[in-house]
């Protein structure tokens, strides 16, 4: 009974850390979230995305062709909760809680059926910065990870119950529709797992063959799209192929994903993907990390340990093929395994401490420093210092454009995120009209990779400002302080209409009305 209560308490904590103020923390709504949001809204209303495509395998969005499973699930969430930020973030947050539960199930079932030993990795996943941060935004990797872990869970189970292997296959295949990197990770994990447990699978060749055929069949739509521009644009657009020494670049990128500096100290260099002063794990976790690594390497002969290490080693491969240094988004399965290593490290670390009062003091200190770090960095500093990176200003801009329906707004687009999709979501612009506007794309959906930042809908136009023409038309010009400087405003006799600031009173956007004569 006590064990059940402890488990429920951990799940309750993980729910609180993920759902608390979900609509307003993070303070803004990032452009990639808006892509999911508006396309989900469009699918919920019309059955088609913003370009008029029904059930896209890959979502064209801003020309990046990401996976579409999250979008389709979000369409259902919109029908349930309405077209709100909460609805769009719901599946990522729900996935975050599901990952905590799956962590317990996997570590309990396959690593000794020891409640305490399984509880610690669960607590690590429930409270780790990477897990909380990526559950509180629209993050397809979180959804991909849930299905990958379901695949891992049933794969492990299939060793004693082979009929469950096709179930594992189905979840591994679905994970490739959840996030792009899982195409590589799930496939490599599947074949690596079969190799590790080859003696077991050789006794069930029929089920193995049928399962592999099923996996291929489920991936067929994506395999076909590999021959299109949309199917490969994410790799070709973000990789460093043909630029310098490929081998050196790959191994330097790959080893960065195991560096204690990046795991425990330096946040993701992309400000939109990180928390101020907090990396993917807490600083103190470096100690149980090394203890846990020792435990893992002394038990390398255990097959489930081998399978986890396989997942740890293959997960950074897709991330290491891109130019982004230490991209946390693309490496979630590896962080999950590292969380288990840390959890086991804490378990073995505590078993070394013999005196119970010392264990209590250490536990209190860990809880204290963890709570302080998370509160300070995420619940305080994050909203103040990262509002700009989360496109905070556009929600206010959308409100202004709705209040002033008869005013024409020209929004400067050469810097920052493409604002049109944010405004489409906030204004809930009619998807049918947007599909008509984008009608030229539909016949070439997966091939038309060029993306224009220029859009015109309602009373909004997003494009570059043409100073020689725009000042002679009655409209409001909107841009950040660098796009429209005070000198330019003075020179062109513009009148300041509004300023949108972040929580630090830093001006993010300014709107100037023209004075044509």
């Amino acid at each position: 009974m006590a064990k059940i209560l402890i488990f429920i308490a951990i799940i309750a904590i993980s729910i609180f850390l993920r759902f608390y103020k979900l609509e307003t923390l993070p303070i803004g709504f990032y452009v990639d979230e808006a892509v999911q949001g508006y396309n989900a809204f469009s699918i919920a209303q019309t059955g088609k995305d913003e370009y008029g495509m029904a059930f896209p395998i890959l979502l064209r969005g801003l020309g990046t062709f990401g996976t579409s499973l999250y979008t389709h699930l979000s369409a259902m969430a919109i029908l349930l909760f309405g077209p709100t930020i909460f609805a769009i973030r719901f599946w990522s947050t729900f996935s975050g809680v599901a990952i905590v539960i799956l962590t317990f199930l996997i570590t309990y079932q396959f690593f000794g059926k020891n409640f305490s030993k399984a509880l610690l990795p669960t607590i690590v996943v429930a409270t780790a910065p990477w897990a909380i941060f990526l559950s509180r935004g629209v993050d397809e990797p979180n959804l991909g990870l849930v299905f990958l872990l379901l695949g891992v869970y049933f794969s492990f189970f299939s060793i004693s119950k082979i009929f469950l292997f096709p179930v594992a296959i189905i979840f591994l295949a679905i994970s490739t529709y959840g996030y792009t990197a899982e195409r590589v990770v799930s496939t490599l994990f599947l074949f690596g797992f079969i190799f590790i447990f080859k003696k077991h699978f050789l006794h069930s060749k029929k089920i193995l063959s049928l399962s592999l055929a099923l996996f291929f069949l489920l991936l067929l739509p994506q395999i076909i799209l590999l021959f299109s521009t949309g199917g490969t644009i994410r790799l070709t657009g973000q990789s460093y192929f043909g630029q310098g020494n490929f081998v050196r670049e790959f191994f330097s990128q790959y080893s960065a994903y195991f560096s204690p500096r990046n795991l425990f100290f330096d946040p993701d260099p992309d400000l939109q993907r990180s928390i101020p002063d907090l990396s993917v794990f807490y600083v103190w976790m470096v100690i149980p990390f090394f203890i846990g690594l020792k435990v893992f390497f002394t038990k390398l002969n255990e097959p489930y340990i081998k399978a986890l290490l396989l997942l740890l080693l293959i997960s950074p491969i897709p991330a290491a093929l891109t130019k982004d240094p230490f991209s946390t988004f693309r490496n979630l399965p590896s962080f999950w395994v590292i969380s288990i290593i840390i959890g086991f490290g804490i378990y073995h670390g505590f078993s070394i401490i013999k005196q119970f009062p010392v264990k209590i003091v250490v536990s209190i200190l860990i809880v204290f420093f963890t709570t302080i770090s998370l509160y300070s960095s995420y619940f305080v500093l994050f909203n103040f210092e990262r509002a700009k990176n989360w496109d905070f200003a556009y929600k206010e801009l959308a409100k202004i454009s709705i209040q002033q329906k008869d005013t024409h707004f020209v929004i400067e687009t050469s810097r920052g995120s493409p604002p049109h999709i944010l405004l489409l979501f906030y204004t809930l612009y009619d998807p049918i009209k947007m599909q008509q506007y984008n009608a030229s794309i539909i016949n070439n959906y997966y091939e038309a990779s060029e993306f224009s930042r220029n859009y015109k809908f309602g009373n909004i136009e997003t494009r570059q400002i043409f100073w020689e023409k725009d000042i002679y038309q009655e409209q409001v010009l909107v841009g950040d302080p660098l796009s429209i400087s005070e000198n330019q405003a003075k020179e062109h006799s513009l009148t300041l209409q509004f300023e949108i600031k972040d929580l630090r009173d830093e001006v993010l956007l300014k709107g100037y009305s023209t004075k044509p004569r």
Binding site: R248, L293, K294, F326, L503
Partner: protein, 168 residues
Amino acid sequence: MKYFIIFFILIFSPWTYIIITYPLPQLDKSLWQYSPEEIFLLNQRRSFYPFYGKFFQNKLIFSLNKIERNLFYNLDPNLYFFATHPRERLKVKEFEKFPALFLPFFLIGFFVFLKKTSKKIVVCMFLALFLSSFLSFQPPGPIFMYPVITYFIFKGIQSVIKKLWPKS
């Protein structure tokens, strides 16, 4: 044989020459010195908290953060084998301390060490990390860590030789 391997590692490590020619390391004064930008950030951040901002943001925490920074940078394998690429540091002249070719041997040596931990090496590692966190030696970098890295590379090469030629 093992002395030949150590000699081989030392000769092909760029840092060997640098250590011989550069002056001794000094206490890193930047740990307790604050630039105007840091002071501004500290004061600004204090105003963000609804209560007791000084508890969360103060000079002690800033200094501890810098010590942590030194410690974790010294634990970054890319610092030694890839000149900190792909996360090069600002205003620091980066260079490879060991040829990247030694990385697999370093990893093997580290895993061998994990499997059979030697208390002497653990003490040496902690001492090296502690000194490297407080002492500054630019541009050579955390020189106290280099013998530790060399040891792991040596153990890795030794393990590979034993595996390939068991009778040697």
